[in-house]
């Protein structure tokens, strides 16, 4: 088990503080004024996240998104921040094998669920997942910034059964923006990989 402890915050609080922070966060959501509500300031919370098969213990601001937890507290920077508001798909991760936007997921809400990031997609021996290899073979990226999200979304797209036709792939890959315009090659990559992926 990996142990990661983050002590950067201004204070470390225990489980009670965490509970209070969570409650305050919920109240703030209802009020639709999270940014200016004073109640949620600085509440830190201990949490355990299961990422790529390993448990990670964190103590972070209760408002921390799963994306920021990965990037800023666990050095898992393969998940990218492109908008931080659920519009671009660059932060896509798999949670219990479903594709989710980690920028719109509170880290604390991902506890007890299996999180897969791009760093966890290749085999333990470093062998690339068929989708990763297919992206390379088809030059399905340019700058590469949206690529981790595209690949995880593509893996889920195949698993969902949404990769049978080109039109189906295009429709179900439209939540992941690629500003370089690699889209046709992303479709080719998915068609290459779909037959090579094992179950799940």
């Amino acid at each position: 088990m990996h142990q990661s402890s983050d002590t950067r915050g201004p204070s470390r609080r225990g489980v009670m503080g965490a509970a209070a922070g969570l409650a305050a966060g919920s109240a703030a959501r209802v009020a639709a004024q999270p940014a200016v509500s004073g109640a949620e300031s600085g509440g830190h919370v201990a949490m355990r996240l299961q990422i790529n098969g390993h448990d990670h213990d964190l103590n972070v601001d209760v408002r921390t998104s799963l994306l920021d937890a990965l990037r800023e507290h666990l050095d898992l920077t393969g998940s990218k921040k492109g908008c931080d508001q659920g519009q671009c798909g660059a932060c896509t991760v798999l949670i219990d094998d479903q594709r989710e936007l980690s920028c719109l997921t509170l880290a604390i809400a991902a506890q007890g669920r299996r999180i897969t990031t791009i760093e966890g997609l290749a085999g333990a021996d470093g062998a690339l997942h068929p989708m990763q290899q297919a992206f390379i073979d088809n030059d399905a990226f340019q700058c590469g910034y949206c690529t981790p999200g595209q690949i995880l979304s593509a893996v889920a797209c195949v698993a969902e059964g949404h990769a049978t036709t080109d039109a189906d792939i295009q429709e179900h890959m439209s939540g992941n923006l690629c500003r370089c315009g690699a889209y046709p090659k992303i479709v080719l990559a998915i068609k290459q990989a779909r037959g090579q992926m094992g179950r799940g």
Binding site: T64, S79, G82, D139, L177, C178, Y183
Partner: protein, 754 residues
């Protein structure tokens, strides 16, 4: 003399950074690990003109975890505004209390976490002294003036265009407009600054490593040698990361005040106002021709919005006036100063807007002449640059038109607008010329090779998605007769030898030519050692005739020795060379200027004996629904001819991505501006429309072979920008063919056709 470029290049090669990009290992600027960073959040102006009367910070400071708040009052005197590429002034941020535009940085909160910084930034209360702003064209208070011309860029003029236009047998005279656009690379604008004593390291996605280093040093009054910039991967740039913007120096100051690294990740909406954009244009185009289609008069005027202090403009008439043979040319460009942030380079900055007008106008002229639009281009094709009178070094425009037309099936087109349909869908076929000047810059590179044939190449070039790592690897490996897989390339770090800005599509030509030069130095030293050594099978041969091929040093008669043996005559270990390249036509001091962060370039229109451009042709089918006016683009064929293609695999991606940008410019992209407040309205990726996967048609890219040893020794023309150019017009022309309605204002949307 360089080797046969066909032997070196042209083999499709997967990106050497592919594994890093598909595994998440590629570190973009904000991914770089730094110890114990504090996090910054920008406070930006909610008005577009006026000044900051006061900031009330108590509530923000009370947020747990807040460490510092930078404002004009406490840090304003610590930095000068960043130098601009055009050498002129730009808007300020914390240096003064003045507000030049919406979304201007007016304070920076630094805290223990993003969460605390964000909350505190939202708690900063600003007392504005507001004045009514001028938003754009026609807004009260804008100032219009002619743009500044320079020795290198004058408004093309020849003959008497007004008289020729008045006398023309056939003419068109029309006004066009193109909208504000933002680059919106998916990587946000980020800056992380780390001090180690007097040394400053800046992690920031950049298209100009040494330029950023020099500019920030100057802003902070530092010795540039104390500043290092790192940007190993860039998550899209498209011009947005070419210049130095204001945020960088302030984050450096924040880190200095704290004695601790500071990391800024600006939000998507802030990215619309803290960086640059493509300004909206208005254009007037008049073309005169004789009945046989030959142009007799060319008049092209542009108006471009810029900020109050900056004279930035793109003046695309310098390209359009060179496209077709014409004896009478008149052009003019005006800038319109408004209360806006300063615009900047965005993919094919001059050509994207200005070729829209010209290539729409050519289609209108073809229609007026009752002539096929391809034939109109053919009648006016020229091997001589009509502005300068110099020959084009190569120009394969009509070969591109002909090959793309054949692939597209253009011969099956009924030229009558509205004549082709499929059920409720009106079908239109349109075409247009693509072009981009061929530029190349000075560069330096360090290359080291081991006896085992492992090569390391280091230069401060920029991987912005163009395949820059792979271009360098291919050039080094193939020139040395070694393997791409055995090549390690390091880019994106100002501690490496300098390279000019990655702009103007110069990267492949610039980096390949300097790396080739380094390899040639290795070859020369190995060849001279072998021919001088009686123990070598190559002893006595002419050193100049020896080549590095297939892991050997080989003579013209077939005698050879392994690379390792050849290298051992020169060194017992590793051979390292440092090469510098000032391309032919460079101004004196071009290489020295690199080390001062200057971004020089030999431009396609600035050469002594020739004019250098790449050319292409776009063909597009649009379908417009008869009743709803919904517009679809089911298929595109684009052909390009751009000299030596270093890596066909990545080149195809760039051409295709460029063509998609062109479709996007035609049908989707526009930053909407509230005219009353001069604020951007759709500053996010849901409301600023860019294509998603389901929007993309069948795009076929053809590459027409071309050799051109005048552009540079390796014959490489730029390919990163040409793909976008002209596609907006091709779509508009197709919409006209489908509907009989000529749309001269972009983007074209269903409501344009109601």
């Amino acid at each position: 003399m360089p080797r046969d470029t066909a032997e070196l290049f042209g083999k499709p090669t997967p990106r050497i950074d592919g594994v890093a990009k598909v595994t998440g290992a590629a570190r973009y600027a904000s991914d770089e690990p730094v110890a114990n960073p504090a996090f910054a959040w920008l406070v930006t102006s909610a008005i577009a003109r006026g000044r900051v009367g006061g900031l009330r910070l108590d509530s923000a400071k009370a947020v747990p975890g807040v460490i510092d708040i930078l404002t004009h009052d406490n840090v304003g005197a610590l930095a000068q505004p960043p130098a601009q590429m055009d050498g002129g002034p730009t808007t300020t941020t914390l240096e003064t209390d003045q507000i030049w535009h919406d979304g201007q940085i007016i304070a920076i909160v630094v805290a223990e976490s993003f969460e605390a910084a964000r909350e505190a930034a939202n708690r900063v209360e600003v007392d504005y002294v507001a004045e009514p702003p001028s938003a754009t064209f026609d807004s009260p208070g804008v100032q219009v003036e002619p743009h500044k011309t320079t020795e290198d860029s004058k408004d093309p003029a020849k003959g008497d265009a007004a008289a020729a236009l008045a006398a023309a047998e056939v003419k068109i005279d029309a006004r066009y407009s193109t909208p504000t656009q933002h680059h919106n690379p998916i990587e946000l604008f980020t800056t992380t600054c780390v001090w180690d004593g007097p040394h400053l390291t800046i992690y920031e996605g950049s298209q100009a490593m040494w330029g950023l280093k020099a500019n920030v040093a100057k802003q902070l009054g530092m010795d540039p040698a104390m500043v290092r910039t790192i940007s190993r991967f860039v998550g899209g740039a498209f011009g947005s990361r070419g210049g130095t913007t204001s945020r960088t120096a302030w984050i450096a100051i924040a880190a200095k005040r704290l004695g601790r690294p500071v990391k800024l990740v600006a939000t998507r909406d802030q990215g619309f106002t803290i960086a640059t954009y493509r300004a909206e244009t208005r254009q007037h185009l008049a073309l005169g021709a004789s009945r046989d289609g030959k142009l007799t008069a060319f008049v092209h005027e542009g108006w471009e919005v810029t900020s109050r202090p900056s004279g930035y403009n793109v003046a695309g008439v310098d390209t359009t006036a060179r496209m077709y043979a014409c004896p009478n040319i008149a052009t003019a460009v005006h800038v319109v100063h408004a209360d806006r942030n300063t615009p900047g380079f965005m993919r094919a900055p001059p050509e994207t807007p200005y070729m829209f007008a010209l290539e729409s106008g050519m289609d209108e002229l073809a229609h007026a002449l009752n002539m096929d639009p391809i034939e109109l281009r053919r009648v006016n094709d020229t091997k001589i640059d009509p502005v300068s009178g110099k020959p084009f070094s190569s120009r394969s425009l009509m070969a591109c038109f002909d090959q793309a037309a054949a692939k597209f099936g253009w011969s099956g087109r009924n030229p009558k607008p509205g004549s082709m349909r499929d059920g409720d869908w009106l079908i239109g076929w349109g075409c247009a010329t693509a072009t981009y000047p061929t530029n190349i810059g000075p560069a330096a590179a360090r290359l080291a090779v081991t006896p085992e044939g492992k090569v390391t190449v280091q230069l401060a070039a920029h991987e912005i998605g163009t395949g820059a790592y792979t271009v360098v690897a291919i050039t080094a490996a193939r020139s040395l007769g070694l393997k791409v897989d055995d090549t390690t390339v390091m880019l994106g770090d100002s501690s490496l030898p300098p390279v000019t800005v990655a702009g103007g599509s110069n990267n492949a030509a610039t980096t390949a030519n300097v790396v080739y030069k380094a390899c040639e130095e290795v070859r020369r030293r190995l060849a001279e050692a072998a021919t001088a050594d009686p123990a070598s099978p190559l002893h006595g041969a002419d050193a100049a005739s020896l080549q590095l091929k297939g892991g050997t040093l080989m003579g013209p008669t077939g005698a050879s020795e392994p690379f390792k043996a050849a290298l051992s005559r020169v060194t017992g270990g590793v051979l390292e060379v440092h090469a510098e390249n000032a391309p032919q036509g460079s101004k004196p001091g071009a290489v020295a200027g690199l080390y001062e962060g200057k971004s020089a370039m030999v431009r396609g229109t600035g050469r002594e004996n020739v004019t250098t451009f790449a050319f292409g042709a776009h063909f597009v089918e649009v379908r417009v629904h008869e009743r709803t006016r919904e517009i679809r683009t089911p298929r595109v064929v684009s052909a390009f001819s751009a000299g030596t293609i270093v890596n066909p695999m990545t080149a195809h991606s760039q051409f295709m991505g460029g063509a998609l940008w062109g479709l996007s410019a035609a049908l989707f992209e526009a930053t909407e501006i509230d005219r009353k407040t001069a604020r951007y309205v759709n500053h996010n990726l849901a409301d600023y429309l860019i294509p998603v996967n389901a929007d993309v048609p069948d795009i076929q890219v053809l590459v027409v072979p071309e050799e051109d040893d005048q552009v540079n020794p390796l014959g490489i023309k730029g390919i990163g920008e040409i793909g976008i150019v002209g596609m907006n017009a091709a779509v508009a022309n197709a919409v006209f063919h489908a509907t009989g309605t000529r749309i001269r204002d972009l983007p074209i949307r269903a409501e344009s056709l109601l």
